[in-house]
Symmetry: C2
Subunit: 510 residues, 2 copies
């Protein structure tokens, strides 16, 4: 099995394993105790804190160990919001933060606070000026990841820290993905990270709070870890986490260059090998080891299973791979295709051979999924050709959608184009501003990527300039119809509420 | 080094070590992922949950793994209080709960909630009827430990669960100390525990919430662990914790009998070997492996250092061993002596030889501390004999208190006995109700056990029926003066506010 999901979790680094074994022997006692075993645990904990602080770039007394990266984020945000409550209750986050940050923002709003989201560009990157604009007099805290966990885009942390500093607002940086590769540049105020992302054991997060940041730890009192992380200190895991971070950092410069080359190869080759693929994320300002792409007409979950069968472990931001059936909020914020989404994050030591093998199996895996879905295959082609393909695909379909779409002339749809005349709907008669669909496809109850496949099948049936409406209640549709239009050079007219679900309108272009 | 502090933390059980090593290889991936490594982690997690649920006596879907016992307590209490908020905001706890419970109660009060404490008897045990009386219509939750962590007293959980059940109030049982020995009897509603207390690794707590308990997890959303324990699941540690619990339980019945015998020996022999010792906690209804005693005229921290030098690791609830200089709230609630406090909690496998060796070194260790403090030595004796000792001890003192007490006739004290006549203060003239001290000792700024030692030194200087006042600003004095009086059969009159600190009044008895 080749594991290409290190952004999710990494196996234990050999150095971490050694450190863990040793400190399970030496560091199991309560470091608050006065006897020998306790003092020994305290020494180990202190040394680990110094090593980790050195790697983070802060003072040891600014750093505490939490029970996870998620806890570090939750505690860091809650503590700063409480400590700066007199300033105000406004929180600023980017739209592509890790769910732990967005959930903390949600909890803050539920408790009566306010929050604002800074949008990203199509590469997933925030604009520092957008942060500057989002800050206001009552802003207590701003949060920004150092690099995105799903698409690898690096954020302009130093610039955002500068605009935050000028506004007197502390900036919390979620450095979970980038910390193994190096210190976070810029004048951040708080920083969080998670050890199992760099080959440390699970159960250890980092929370650094710069001196001078007003911070009031929330929750019941607990004197351990400066009152910022309740519970018995997990000394063995902390020691292993610090040792692993140090080891990973020593290899980071060389390994980053090597993995960057492999990722560059994937970024270039995948679109050559597989038709209808969109590689997403910033091509240059990115994490060295992470690449994400989406495949049109592909069910992400089925593709993951195909790749798993072929011996590759990867992850996906497609809606069908989440328990909530909602596509990744990151892909959504970027406005890119979410169907058939694949994220590869290469662990340290990934071999060229494994990458080549992946590139060798991917095309067949995608083709197989598309065939099962009865999806249009091949490269973009003119609508006339597509028209023929639709009929073929429908007939050849094995597990694909039943070919029973109702081609009603908009009769089922609730959206009314008040301004349009009630005359004929022939292709010739449709003007640019007219939203009356020539064709309505009922894709209700069908999940990504089926609604888009059904759109692709019928777009050739309408005239140039005419509109097709697809009724869908799938969350991914909102993202995937516009993305399909961009990839196929068709006009996305917009979405309208319908009796059931939503009608997505697409105008056929020549 | 002989480690007698398993109630604080236990070294890793061999079974846990094996399970940890294996599951670091097999269970490091994200159990939410669909690929092979993820599915394998999920299987391990599911199996661990079944094993732990079996040991707890609940359904697997009622049990989640938290990052510590403290977290389990905090989350269990916060979730139930929130879930039952419509019922009311009243929380009932015992006075001897673990600090994590009391801190959660404190946080609840700080957030506008109410809480009540149920007192304990001198053995540290609650009365179920006192729980019944403490419950009221707005009570959302009651908490009771299964057994006390400092003195080992077992609580009547089944009976308290019954009165709670009758009142429709859920009972949360903190089973941290007793779970390795067996299931908690009775119809509890929530249960918490901590793996490093039974030889599991740190970083794993258990929270069981019975179906039917209204529960609303607090803090930011997180879909892991039924939404009750945010953060990446620590699968390797969870697997090791469950394996260790199962292993410890298999040995529990035999080992409990053996340790119970060793503890019984300590309970009997210590008062024979060491003068002026109070063994505390219920002698019968107690944890098998835990025993606590307090030594008059002894500085707990110095005694711990002496025992550490002699090769024994033990803990103490004395004020001088806490960072806050406040004696254990447990000893306080029991009304027993807190100075020179020693808790022994024997790990599984403790040998008879180690116990005998401890009993051999203890008397010298205590004697040495008392000598350094210039404390009265030997067994209780009549006041005349004591009077002589005081002079001796004062002269012989090495690091003991300076012999410069001001023997002012109450001139410094602010407490006035309005009813007493302003006449002579001679011993003969003092009536039973008169609180005017014949002697005032200024012990301000001196820490436990010095104020009690100074009291012991002067009590023989006053007449029978006369009162000595000791001025003290040490938190432990409130506990130790009454305890000394009980042990010495002197009358504790009470405490009065003074200009500085508090005046503690003791009437000399024949």
């Amino acid at each position: 099995m080749v594991y290409f999901d290190s952004a999710s979790s990494s196996p234990l680094h050999p150095v971490a394993r050694q450190a863990l074994a040793a400190s399970l022997d030496e560091g199991w006692a309560d470091p608050a105790r006065l006897y020998r075993e306790g003092r020994r645990a305290r020494l180990l904990l202190d040394a680990a804190r110094e090593a980790a602080a050195d790697a983070v770039g802060c003072r040891p007394d600014e750093l505490v160990f939490t029970s996870s990266g998620t806890r570090a984020v939750h505690s860091g945000i809650a503590g700063t919001l409480a400590g700066r409550r007199r300033t105000g209750r406004h929180l600023v986050v980017s739209a592509v933060e890790h769910s732990s940050v967005l959930h903390a923002a949600e909890a803050h709003r539920a408790a009566g606070g306010e929050s604002g989201e800074v949008a990203v560009d199509r590469a997933g990157r925030v604009d520092p000026q957008a942060y500057a604009a989002a800050l206001r007099s009552g802003t207590a805290l701003a949060c920004l990841q150092s690099a995105n966990h799903e698409v690898g885009t690096e954020q302009p942390v130093a610039e955002v820290a500068r605009v935050c500093g000028e506004a007197g607002v502390p900036l919390l940086v979620d450095a979970a993905q980038s910390l193994p590769w190096g210190q976070v540049a810029g004048d951040w105020s708080l920083l969080t990270a998670s050890a199992h992302k760099w080959g440390g054991p699970p159960g250890v997060g980092l929370l650094a709070v710069r001196k001078g940041v007003r911070f009031a730890a929330q929750g019941p009192a607990d004197e351990r870890e400066s009152g910022r992380a309740p519970g018995f200190e997990n000394v063995p895991a902390i020691v292993a986490a610090a040792a692993s971070l140090r080891a990973v950092r020593q290899e980071a410069a060389v390994e980053a260059d090597r993995l960057r080359g492999l990722v560059e190869r994937i970024r270039q080759r995948v679109p050559e090998l597989v038709p209808d693929v969109e590689v997403v994320g910033d091509p240059v300002r990115r994490l060295p080891h992470l690449v994400t792409f989406s495949c049109l007409y592909v069910d992400g979950e089925t593709l993951l299973h195909e790749l798993d069968r072929a011996g590759f472990s990867v992850s996906s931001g497609s809606s069908c791979t989440s328990s909530t059936l909602i596509p990744s909020h990151v892909l959504k914020a970027m406005g890119v295709l979410s169907e058939g989404n694949v994220r590869l994050s290469l662990p340290s030591g990934t071999s060229e051979e494994d990458v080549e093998r992946f590139l060798a199996v991917l095309p067949d895996a995608v083709r197989s999924v598309r065939e099962k879905l009865g999806a249009p295959s091949g490269r973009p082609r003119p609508a006339d050709a597509l028209r023929a393909t639709v009929a073929e695909a429908g007939a050849a379909s094995v597990s694909g959608p039943a070919n029973d779409d109702t081609y009603a002339n908009g009769a089922d749809a609730t959206y009314a184009n008040g301004a349009a005349d009630e005359g004929e709907n022939g292709a010739e008669g449709v003007s640019e501003g007219d939203e009356k669909p020539a064709l309505t496809v009922d894709s209700l109850g069908k999940r990504c990527p089926v609604p888009v496949i059904e759109l692709a099948k019928v777009i050739g049936d309408i005239g140039i300039g005419e509109i097709v409406a697809v009724l869908s209640d799938d969350e991914a549709a909102r993202l995937d119809f516009p993305a399909w239009c961009a990839m196929r050079d068709q006009e996305y007219v917009g979405e309208r509420p319908a009796d059931r679900g939503t009608a997505y309108l697409v105008r056929r272009r020549p």
